[in-house]
Amino acid sequence: MSSKLQVAERAVNAKDTEFQQVLRHLRRNRMAMAGVAILFVFLLGAIFAPLLTTFDPTRPDFGNAFQKPSATHIFGTDELGRDVFARILYGSQISLLIGLISVSIGLILGVPVGALSGYYGGKLDLIVQRLIDIMIAFPGILLAIVIVTMLGTGVENVMIATGVASIPTYTRLVRGSVLAVKELRFVAAAKVLGISDLRIIVRHILPNCMGPIVVQSTFQVATAILWAAGLGFLGLGAQPPDPEWGAMLSKGREFIRTAHHLTTFPGLAILLMVLGFNLLGDGLRDALDPKSRKFR
């Protein structure tokens, strides 16, 4: 019965684009939808922050320091009397921006390098791979720390550092995909037709690697947000009075005994945003992986 349904469904779906199929598959995945919902809330919060709170995220209000969560200040206030909820709302702008710009840097630099390295192979590939080996010799957040040490602190440098630190991931991913795709017959056919290498890569090979790139980018946004918060926590990222979550948490730690809401809420914000991107990433991976698609 169910297999007949699947056949029927497939017939109906035959006209659908790949994109629509992925979207439909994603919509059926409850975990992925939970991720989308979380991210949607953060996105709305970031965009409409000035409408959602009347408090200024950076201006001190010393008379109101260390207020516990209440109806007026739902997440309480910090050591300078600033509303923690307002700071978390505005902080989501910073975190989302860091995530997006960092991933863009990784994509813009990592994808072309990986594609060329995989397509042409030979000496170029050898050199690129050794350079990437050097970059991945620094575990996790360490490469970002090294870059920030050289560039200095601040949100912009955090974006650059986390972006550059994500290049190896993209280069390796795209190189691997290109190596797999370039042996396929349609690439050989394109070559026989005299289509230029650049056009083959951009029009024929890269579109076939898009799935893994999209999935990786979703996870990479989460990683960049975690790294940026880590840098902020160490005092190497965003600087006061920026309402960056990691920096807020680091400052709040000094008052953990008396006002733990200063660490609890920023940490929960980071956790939820990262969880949102991870759930979406898991869902996208399932949706884009033909093997896991039930109706195929």
């Binding site: 050097i134 010799a137 620094f138 720390i145 040490t149 050289m150 880590g230 190497l236 990691g246 956790l271």
Partner: protein, 311 residues
């Protein structure tokens, strides 16, 4: 096998050279006089000049690098700009503490992760399975420094059961090692579960059950053995990741390790120590990865020594 190990080590040489160039570049990248950066912000003009002469900082970059590497090979990583002690001495003091922390976290992560993964797989879709899989999603998403602070809040500040920082007896290991290990435990739990489920579907498991073996024996003796390789892969990959996490965890728990030394030295602009700690962490990471590769080759007969595949 020996040939494979030698080749794997040789491949690491250009990587380590590259790492040394990058570490060397740290000081040349920051604005200002490298001699002052190495000597420290509070150094006397005489000491700055001495550093400049010793490291040939008035010569070309390639000569400076040559001096740097030859000093490095002799174990001379310069002196701390603050304590004036040799960097190598500082590293030698801190290094075992980081290794101990990483090993303890890996042990905790393995026990927790594999335990949860095995139970989840054998009781699929049970309450335990659902709860542990949600916990593992949260465990991967939670920032390690926040987890640390929350555990401190609960077990040190509120309950007063465990010390909130420093290194001493076994009780001082519990919170930092658990903090550092939880994310890894979450990953190990997910991988153990999925590879167990994969294995439990196979024919030899059906045969084992059909023979009348108890479920316990089927799971622990037959399935676990085959499910082990992907788990070990993740453990190997994660062990290096623990070094990155150690930087944050050590800062939270005032743990006297390499990671905290690095952060402190960055914040105080003690660049010789920054270089030393970064170099040590990277070299450790590279060596661990080689060890992991060799371990796979040993464990997984599908990886051939001749081609060195499996990298």
């Amino acid at each position: 096998m020996t040939g494979y190990i030698i080749r794997r080590l040789l491949l690491a040489v250009p990587v380590l050279l590259g790492v040394s160039i990058l570490v060397f570049a740290i000081i040349r990248f920051i604005p200002g006089d490298p001699a002052r950066a190495i000597a420290g912000v509070h150094a006397t003009p005489q000491y700055i000049e001495q550093v400049r002469k010793e490291l040939l900082l008035d010569k070309g970059l390639h000569i400076q690098y040559f001096v740097y590497v030859s000093n490095l090979l002799r174990g001379d990583l310069g002196r701390s700009a603050f304590t004036r002690r040799p960097v190598i001495t500082e590293l030698r003091e801190r290094f075992p503490n980081t290794v101990l922390l990483a090993l303890t976290s890996m042990a905790i992560a393995t026990v927790l992760g594999m335990g949860a993964g095995i139970v989840s797989a054998s009781k699929r879709n049970s309450v335990f399975d659902n709860v542990s899989m949600v916990a593992s999603l949260v465990g991967v998403a939670a920032p390690v420094f926040w987890l640390g602070v929350m555990l401190q809040l609960l077990f040190s500040v509120r309950l007063g059961w465990l010390p909130s920082g420093g290194m001493g007896g076994i009780e001082t290991f519990v919170l930092p090692a658990t903090t550092l290990g939880l994310a890894t435990a979450a990953l190990i739990a997910r991988i153990t579960r999925s590879s167990m489920l994969e294995v439990l579907r196979q024919d030899f498991i059906t045969t084992a059950r059909a023979k009348g073996l108890s479920e316990r024996v089927v799971i622990l003796k037959h399935a676990l053995k085959s499910a082990f390789i992907p788990v070990i892969t993740v453990m190997g990959l994660q062990f290096g990741g623990l070094l990155g996490g150690a930087v944050l965890t050590e800062t939270v728990f005032s743990w006297p390790g390499i990671g905290r030394l690095m952060v402190d030295s960055i914040l105080t602009r003690d660049y010789p120590v920054v270089q030393g700690t970064v170099l040590l962490l990277a070299v450790m990471f590279v060596l661990i990865n080689i060890a992991v590769d060799i371990a796979y080759a040993f464990l997984d007969p599908r990886i051939s020594f001749a081609t060195g595949e499996g990298e």
